[in-house]
Structure formats: structure tokens, C-alpha cells
């Protein structure tokens, strides 16, 4: 069953505006936060067990704790460059509940001692950008942003910055490069952004959903938040479900929720007559699960890691038996090849080779040894580059080939898909 914290009021149009948001309890947690010591807020976020909701799943409070105490200005950046294929939960939040993100950011800025924040949003999100800008203007007019917020003595300025179509800017150091007006190329870590980020200053980068969740941790306390989810995966999570289900959409469930319940209860199951073939549980870079593996999968960091995959951004792509896995992998690899920023050779070349090899199989000219070549190329990519994009291409490639090898072999032998009707005159 859904448990709605972040998405509780999504269905109320008035929640988008400041008045409606306040009537439904908005900005009360901020007042509560201002009564606390910033360090106590950081401790509370640590105790809550909140982990980054953008993909990497790093504990938020721990990340905040990495900031050096050196008197330099600190920046708080919201990562709204939602680009992992299959993910759309942040867009929905920014459209339906922009103040929830702004409030989460003010609280977080207060906790980490930042006086300037940016929401870095992807270029294609024009509508959410306009909604956010309006909400920020409302917040300034109401004294919720700017100098001496609500008489607390705390100053915080917030602005929105639009990217221009580059998946790599979702990687935090790539995002910082982009915000500095450069190519969005990631930087080698360490130094981590908390030490040297935007303009070389200490910088915290958190995802939209992560920052919004902070508001609910303050409202309900660390224990209140931990009531949802599992011991190690605390709280609720927004899942973007798409693909072959009756009711695709964004669903908020406690972490540890059964994958099959998410499919069958929240999403209304598969189309009549179709059979589940596979699920990508955490965005296109997450290794694929077979239907058999899905049977006992739960949606939390630990269970999915045990199964060799990951929760990622919470983008769940449901694949039924009408899909050809060779075709799907080709689509995924085209994406990573297109989005490689080009600075590391294993990624720039590797993503291209993987796409070429799978395209060759797809067009009927593949050789049996090409299937093993995929694995070999992937071995030269994972863990060998500045950022994780290379891994993000290698991981699905390896998992598709390992788990659906017979489909790849059939395609090579027969020069066509094993799945009837799946690949007709595709491009």
C-alpha cells in the first residue's frame, strides 16, 4: 500500500501555490527547524537514515558532515537534472509541490550553513522551471527567502538554473561544471564537492526528493521517519514506474516494498495475456532482473544489491514478453554512447563499441563471438573512468547478455528476433 508523505497533496491544485501549501501545513517544519541548532538538524538527518534519492544512495547526513569548517562560503545545489531513463518523479514534485522543495532547501541550507542555493534543472523542463520560479518569487515576497528569514537571522538566496540537454550534468561534479558555465564534464574525486565544489568552494549537492524528504524528517522526527521502510533503507521512496503496466505513474511506497506488489497492486498488473519477462528496477543503468528474480525482490537498497542490481533513482521499467531484449539493449546503449561526455577513453570508445556490437547483432550481421565481446568490452569500462557513466553502460550490457543469452544467440543464428513481431522495420 502507498504511504504518502511527499506525495500526500499532489492531487490538490492549491498545493502548488504558497497559500494552499501553508494551509496544508507548509513551512511549519521550517519554523520548527529554526528553533533547533543546525548541528542537531544534521544529527537528526543522520539518525533518520535518509539516503540520497537521486541514484547513488549515499547517506545524506553523512554527506553534510563532510563540509570543512574553514569559514568559506558554502553552496547548496539541488540536483533537478532528472535524466536517468525511466525517471520522472522529480518533475512531478516540482510541478505539484514546488514549495515542498523550497522548504526542504531552506531547512537544509540552515543545517549546513549555506546562504546561496541553486536548483539545477534540466533544460527540457520548461514548465517545472516556470512553476519553480513563480514559487520562489512567492517565497521571497513572504519573507521565506532572502535576508533574515522569518526573523530567524538566517539569510538564504535561491535561484533556478537550466541545463541544456546533457545527461552527464546529473553527475554532481558535471553539474557543478555546467553551473559554472562550462562543458558539463565531471571532475576527478577527491576532492569531493563538499570540500571543493562550485567555484572551488564547499558545496552540497542533493537530489530533489532528498531535499524534500528533509522537511518530513523535521516534521516527524528521525524516529517518525524511520517508522517507514526497513532498518537500513529508511523512509518512503517515490518510484517512477513505466513500460508495460496498466497504470504507469509515480507511486510512493515505503522502502522494502515488494516489487510484485508495486506491479500488481499499485500499477494494476500487466496487460491481459502478457507475461512478465524482466524488470529494470532503478533506471536504465541498473542491471536487469529476470521475472524469476522479481518474485521475491523488495524495493530497498540492500535487497536489490544482493540481487546484483540497484535501487538507483527508483525508475522501475516493466518489460513483458512482447519485447526483444536485443532491441532494448540497443536502445539503452545508444543512449549511453550519445551521452558520454568524451573525456575518458574507456567510456568514449567503450560506449560506442558496445552500441556498435549490439547494433550489428540487431541488424542480422552479428557473430556468435560478439556476444562474449560485449562482456570483454564492458570489463574494460567499469571502474576505469572519472565518473560512473561508463559503468552505467557496462552494467546493463553485461546483465542483458548474461540473463538473456539465448535471445542473443538466437538473433545471431537466425538473423532475427526470437520474439515474434517485436522488431519489425525498427530504426
Amino acid at each position: 500500500m502507498e504511504i504518502k508523505l511527499l506525495s500526500e497533496h499532489y492531487d490538490k491544485p492549491e498545493f502548488q501555490g504558497l497559500d494552499g501549501y501553508k494551509k496544508l501545513g507548509g513551512y511549519e517544519p521550517l519554523k520548527k527547524a529554526f528553533q533547533m541548532q543546525p548541528k542537531a538538524i544534521i544529527e537528526m538527518v543522520k539518525e533518520s537514515g535518509l539516503r540520497g534519492r537521486g541514484g547513488a544512495g549515499f547517506p545524506t547526513g553523512v554527506k553534510w558532515g563532510f563540509l570543512p569548517d574553514n569559514g568559506e562560503p558554502r553552496y547548496l545545489l539541488c540536483n533537478a537534472d532528472e535524466g536517468e531513463p525511466g525517471t520522472f518523479k522529480d518533475r512531478l514534485m516540482m510541478e505539484r509541490a514546488p514549495h515542498q522543495l523550497i522548504e526542504g532547501m531552506i531547512i537544509s541550507a540552515f543545517a549546513v550553513g549555506s546562504h546561496k542555493g541553486y536548483i539545477y534543472i534540466r533544460g527540457e523542463y520548461n514548465e517545472p522551471t516556470a512553476i519553480l520560479q513563480k514559487a520562489i518569487a512567492e517565497a521571497y515576497d513572504a519573507g521565506l527567502l532572502g535576508k533574515n528569514i522569518l526573523g530567524s537571522g538566517f539569510d538564504f538566496d535561491l535561484d533556478v538554473y537550466q541545463g541544456a540537454g546533457a545527461y552527464i550534468c546529473g553527475e554532481e561534479t558535471g553539474m557543478i561544471s555546467s553551473l559554472e558555465g562550462k562543458k558539463g564534464q565531471p571532475k576527478l574525486k577527491p576532492p569531493f564537492p563538499a570540500v571543493q565544489g562550485y567555484l572551488g568552494k564547499p558545496t552540497i549537492v542533493n537530489n530533489v526528493e532528498t531535499l524534500a524528504a528533509v522537511k518530513y524528517i523535521i516534521r516527524d522526527g528521525a524516529d517518525g521517519y524511520r517508522k517507514h521502510g526497513t532498518e537500513k533503507s529508511a523512509g518512503t521512496k517515490l518510484f517512477s514506474v513505466s513500460g508495460n503496466v496498466m497504470k504507469p505513474g509515480t507511486y510512493e511506497v515505503p522502502l522494502g516494498y515488494k516489487l510484485m506488489d508495486l506491479i500488481n497492486i499499485e500499477c494494476g498488473g500487466l496487460k491481459p495475456g502478457r507475461k512478465l519477462k524482466a524488470v529494470i528496477p532503478g533506471g536504465s543503468s541498473a542491471p536487469v532482473l529476470t521475472a524469476a528474480e522479481c518474485a521475491d525482490a523488495t524495493m530497498d537498497y540492500e535487497n536489490l544489491a544482493q540481487k546484483g542490481t540497484m535501487l538507483g533513482s527508483g525508475a522501475v521499467i516493466i518489460i513483458d514478453d512482447t519485447n526483444c531484449m536485443v532491441d532494448m539493449l540497443k536502445v539503452i546503449l545508444h543512449f549511453y554512447h550519445h551521452e558520454s561526455c568524451g573525456q575518458c577513453t574507456p567510456c568514449r570508445e567503450g560506449t560506442g563499441w558496445l552500441h556498435k556490437i549490439v547494433s550489428s547483432i540487431y541488424s542480422g550481421t552479428g557473430r556468435l563471438q560478439d556476444i562474449d565481446l560485449i562482456q570483454q568490452v564492458a570489463d574494460h569500462m567499469a571502474g576505469k573512468t572519472i565518473c560512473a557513466l561508463s559503468d552505467a553502460a557496462a552494467m546493463p550490457a553485461v546483465s542483458f547478455v548474461q540473463k538473456f543469452r539465448s535471445e542473443f544467440e538466437f538473433y545471431v543464428r537466425e538473423g532475427r528476433s526470437k520474439v515474434k513481431g517485436a522488431v519489425d522495420a525498427q530504426v
Binding site: 532528472e82 535524466g83 536517468e84 531513463p85 525511466g86 525517471t87 520522472f88 522529480d90 518533475r91 546561496k116 534540466r122 533544460g123 527540457e124 523542463y125 520548461n126 514548465e127 535561484d159 538554473y161 537550466q162 541545463g163 541544456a164 540537454g165 546533457a166 545527461y167 555546467s178 553551473l179 559554472e180 558555465g181 562550462k182 562543458k183 558539463g184 562550485y198 567555484l199 517512477s240 514506474v241 513505466s242 513500460g243 508495460n244 504507469p248 505513474g249 509515480t250 529494470i280 536504465s284 525508475a315 521499467i317 518489460i319 519485447n323 532491441d327 532494448m328 536502445v331 539503452i332 543512449f335 550519445h338 551521452e339 561526455c341 525498427q426 530504426v427
Partner: protein, 156 residues
Amino acid sequence: MAFSQETIEFIKKECQRYETRRSAILPCLYRAQKEDPNNQVTPEAVAEMATLMELPEVQINEVLHFYTMYNKKPVGKLHVQVCTNISCSMNGGREMAEHLCKEFNVNYEEVSSDGRYTISRVECLGSCDTAPMMQVNDKYHENLTKEEAVKLLKDM
């Protein structure tokens, strides 16, 4: 073509908005593209931006060529961007893109003879639950069939 007075004002304002002037490059490139009759950023526009922003052209070109949303060649009045990433492909996005090219008699990334349409296939637009979908200029159009997409575009 020189920038309009409003665009010059916009660029000057953006240069003051962020901690460094360089951060203004992305928003100013959008502005230059919007003002261009062919919805693109020309070398002349880059040169004018560089003068106004007091930045080397190479810094602007670096951004222009890295990001996909800046057009380096002419684009039709309606820039139709069809998502062909995974969830959209599973729901007919690729067929929809093909159909639009046939219907408007234009190849991908080119401008139709009447100057109205450019069809592009693009990566995930974050609208996977409403597949297939397309972005036309600034706006998303979701839960489409290929016939509906054609009608929508003809009526614009």
C-alpha cells in the same frame, strides 16, 4: 543580424546574476537561439555574445557544442522532439517519429520545405509514464498515438 535591445539588456543582466559571468553563457545562448529566425545559434551570434559578455568566443563555443539543446543549424518553426528512449520505444515512440517524417515529408534533423517542421529523435524527456510523447518547442505532449501527433502538429 544584431541582437535586439531587449536581448542586449537581458545578456547584461544575466552577466550580473551569478557569481561569475561565465555562468551566464547557458541562459544567454538560449536567448540568442530564441531570437534567431531559424531557431539556431549562429557564429555571428556567438561573436556578439562574446563582445557583450567580455568573454572569449571559445568559452561560448565550448558550451554551444557540448549541449544538445542549442541548435547549430536551422530548425523549423515547430521543433518536434520525439522521445525514443526505452519506455517510449516500448510504447511506439520510434514508429511515431517515423510516421511524422513520412507525413511531413522530411528527414530527421532537417527542415520541411514549408519551413514548419523539424523532427528529431531525442533521449528520455522524463515523461515515461505517458509514453509515447513528444516535445514541441517548449511544451510536452503526452499519451499520443501517431495519428493524434499529426493532428496536433497540423493544428498548431
